[in-house]
Symmetry: C2
Subunit: 305 residues, 2 copies
């Protein structure tokens, strides 16, 4: 291996790393959500259906990769990664419901309510949220109670009324109404940005990072989160349903203001690149150990799905 | 006041105590869920609508009353009481949804989805669950991180797939199918019993009770939970919608097996009384300080709503 790898080599290394990590996270999720034979078997099946067997695990990857910067035990990092993937999966189940986005397709498969019925899907989402917090509370996640409760607080604040769920409400109410760029930025910072930022921050919490390091990691997560959402809007305009594994073009059909509708495709792409560059800049103090996180930042805006 | 109050006096003391405590819990909830002017204002309104302004606060009362046995600071106990009432309110919002029990009436008012629409109701339930865990994570809830994380774990295990949500799934799948008495006992132990038991246990966790005391409190909570559910089944058969503030007779209409359908009204009432006596017996080590908890046990089977 040469000291400075080419861009293509770095990208391939990232893809391999993502694949390996996704499989470790999948394994952890499988262990944390074992099948049962008792009455609630169908609930567990629906939870497993929603959270296992797919997804790039970008959030879980961020948790584990930031954790590595601070030499966190892998088993601890994988628990927190599994927890954030459960939280994310719950939000997708509920977003897809008929009363919400009414989406039949998710990761190329029928969405959970199409597969298990609406009532079971609502409950599976509810129970996945609960399980995400339960996992954080377990001693296997970290021996320090102070670190575990900090993870609970940070996840709750990222995903509740001031974060993900609040953003989802604003998004919904914004349909058929023109939003300004600051409004769109705020709604996505809440709806998707906060949980992505938490995924980076969780590694810093596990690693007992210094205040300064914590700040750098959060700044990286925040910029990456916004870049991710801009890329999502671009893909929603340019990619096919087959590539994405979910329905496309729904935002413009729903009359939503998006980064693309506000900036145009070219300027949206430029803004995403600017944010990625800034995200990478925040990683400077972490040296070569952060190369995968740098490649990840580039990846979120060049991915095809 | 005489040394041994009459039954009527004890009951009146309990009712006064319940009313005062409900108002303190209401005040705490109001502070923890302040109105906002930003985009998510409507989500907060729906959360407040569901959790404020009504309910007997039996769960919150149990938290605070058990806490008193161990001289827990009132502010800590009220935080945990507010948290469990948020968790309970989330479950009611989702239970009432069209895809679930499809109930238009709750505590004598339109249910949350009738008032705010289905999508907002789903999100308000989601965010109330998140907020319940967030509140437990706050330093104001208890200065010890170990106690806070124990509360998170215990609440998650009481309310997730092995508790409340699992029980709700079993209840739903049991419609139009004959369940045996052990099956009905198990489903209600999960669906309502676990959270009621947690409400008692939370006081013991806050109070750093000894293992033996912890065991007594859990046994009290478990028996009270089952008695509560039997009384609920009896009320569903005998009370009016006006008295209950919710739709009645839905269980038999849905072809559900209940304690009343399995035991008959008279034997169901007898079994509830037996469990209440046993619950009271578990309180023996706590002396006169536990009188309100004893009166509460009698109250859950004599209440009219």
């Amino acid at each position: 291996m040469t000291v400075s790898s080419s861009e293509a080599e770095k990208n391939q290394m990232l893809l391999d790393s993502l694949t390996n990590r996704a499989s470790a996270i999948e394994h952890t999720l499988d262990k944390l959500l074992p099948r049962v034979k008792s009455g609630e078997a169908n609930l567990i099946e629906a939870m497993r259906y929603a959270v296992l067997g797919g997804g790039k695990r970008l959030r879980g990857y961020m948790v584990t990769e930031v954790s590595k910067l601070f030499n966190v035990d892998e088993i601890n990092a994988l628990h927190v990664a599994a927890s954030v993937e459960m939280l994310h999966a719950y939000s997708l189940i509920h977003d897809d419901l008929p009363a919400m986005d009414d989406d039949d397709l998710r990761r190329g498969k029928p969405s959970t309510h199409k597969q298990f019925g609406e009532a079971t899907a609502i409950l599976a989402g509810d129970a996945l949220q609960t399980k995400a917090f339960e996992v954080l509370s377990l001693i296997d996640t970290h021996e320090s109670a102070a670190i575990r409760i900090e993870l609970v607080k940070s996840l709750a604040q990222a995903s509740g009324d001031q974060g993900m769920v609040g953003g989802q409400l604003i998004d919904m109410e914004g349909e058929n109404r023109h939003l300004t760029l600051p409004e769109v930025l705020n709604l996505h910072a809440m709806k998707t940005g906060r949980l992505i930022c938490y995924s980076a921050e969780a590694g810093a919490i596990l690693g007992q990072a210094s205040e300064k390091q914590h700040h750098h990691i959060i700044s990286y997560g925040r910029d990456l989160g916004t870049a991710f959402q801009i890329a999502d809007d671009v893909l929603d305009t340019t990619a096919s349903a087959e590539e994405l594994g979910k329905t496309v073009g729904k935002d413009s059909a729903a009359g939503k203001s998006t980064f693309v509708s506000l900036l145009g495709i070219d300027d949206a792409k430029k803004e995403a690149q600017r944010l990625v560059n800034r995200a990478i800049h925040h990683l400077e103090p972490f040296g070569k150990e952060a190369d995968n996180l740098r490649a990840l930042a580039e990846y979120v805006i060049t991915r095809k799905s």
